[in-house]
Symmetry: C2
Subunit: 250 residues, 2 copies
């Protein structure tokens, strides 16, 4: 038990079925023929509310379902034998998570809400049955897992070949992209995680993250107060993220 109560109340800003959900276009039904959305509705449970820090599932728990973020944000963390936490993923509205458990039938990491969030739960056995009948859904799932694998590989490359600054800048640009994909501002947004979590995700000490952000601010590349971030010079950031880039004209 951790002190987060368990309100499970659905909210009328976000609809309870895929056919009328404003997120559907960027969510699981993405790319599916419209008629098949109705079938998905049978799958998805009413979205449930999770408060900040509340667990959605726990490491080592048996795997029955995967989840989709409707609103808010979620992190996945792995806790090793020494009790150290390692942040593995950040999920924003429309993102599916929880498939880490398919491998051996139990979750390999925990998922926690970073703020008040609405989460759809999808029973995996049901999902599998639908997959067999809907080739596009089958493909979608594989693509999704492949994307996550590629993201992990990107992080691996960053961790072993990049400086703290490069990692931080790439993180900022990645967030920017993801917000843009969601039709939100890509130049001004709020970090969903605490800086401690963000540093952990990047394999850095909080202090290092703090210093790097300070430096970026002093150079006039970003503005940052608290978790509110604004990108002032995107080109310069991109140049840092990809050091091989040379400005032929500018």
């Amino acid at each position: 038990m951790d002190g987060a109560q368990t309100y499970q109340v659905s909210v009328n800003t976000v609809s309870e079925n895929c056919t009328s959900c404003s997120l559907a276009a960027g969510c699981l039904p993405k790319g599916l023929p419209w008629q098949q959305w109705r079938q998905l509705d049978a799958l998805a449970r009413h979205p449930a509310v999770f408060v900040r820090r509340q667990r959605i599932y726990s490491q080592n728990a048996p795997f029955y379902s995967c989840y989709i973020v409707k609103s808010g944000a979620v992190k996945t963390v792995y806790i090793n034998a020494q009790g150290q936490e390692r942040v593995l993923g950040l999920y924003l509205p429309g993102d599916l998570f929880g498939l880490d458990g398919v491998g051996d039938g139990s979750h390999t990491c925990s998922a926690q809400a970073l703020e008040r969030s609405l989460i759809c739960r999808i029973n995996f056995a049901d999902l599998e049955q639908h997959m067999a009948r809907m080739p596009k859904l089958q493909r979608l799932l594989l693509q999704l897992m492949s994307d996550q694998l590629n993201a992990a590989h990107g992080l691996i490359c960053s961790l072993s070949q990049s400086t703290a600054e490069e990692r931080v800048v790439r993180f900022i640009l990645e967030l920017s992209d993801r917000y843009r994909q969601r039709k939100l501002s890509g130049t001004e947004f709020r970090l969903a995680m605490t800086k401690t979590d963000a540093a952990n995700y990047l394999g850095l000490a909080v202090e290092t993250l703090s210093r790097v952000l300070g430096r970026l601010r002093n150079r006039g590349l970003i503005r940052i107060q608290g978790r509110q971030l604004q990108i002032l010079n995107e080109a310069a950031l991109k140049a840092i993220a990809d050091p091989s880039h040379i400005f032929l004209d500018s």
Copy 2:
């Protein structure tokens, strides 16, 4: 072309179709009902020979197929904009690789044979069709991707929270396990990669790897000459790999 000929004479144990392949039990058909193996035979192309350093597929190439190692060994590498190489995976007989391309339809990394290897190619479109008809195969593929994702996450944790020594030891133990799973000796085996590649995979400089291995040898935990490795004190290695482990009885 590079001269690489390493006759791995094993051959007649490896056959051209799944039903008679000695690897089948630990390969893709794993867990499928025997009758369905024949259907897989329709999928898999005759295994092809690749020599050391030969590419199996290239980064950015369009994705049509995935592959299975029948004999030998394969590495996948990502080459960044600066031309630096990063080793992402090591694949041994029975392992499937190449699904990195499902995401956006093109491979995100290259695959290279580490020694003379036999590789089965499987057309992905065909595989997908069979998946729809064979629920177990569908599940298997998802599990496989999940496993790879979990492996990547393990590496991420190691890279950001572990010392060079811990990483190296875990790598050795992981190899040991994988060889054991293949019914080979888990205490004495040959590193499939050069030490340069292994160091790269572990996010270390070759020099560091060399020094760490030297230290492990001096402490009598392993014997190593060239790529031939022998584990002398597995318990001690495990204690290093998982520092929280305390010997209650021994």
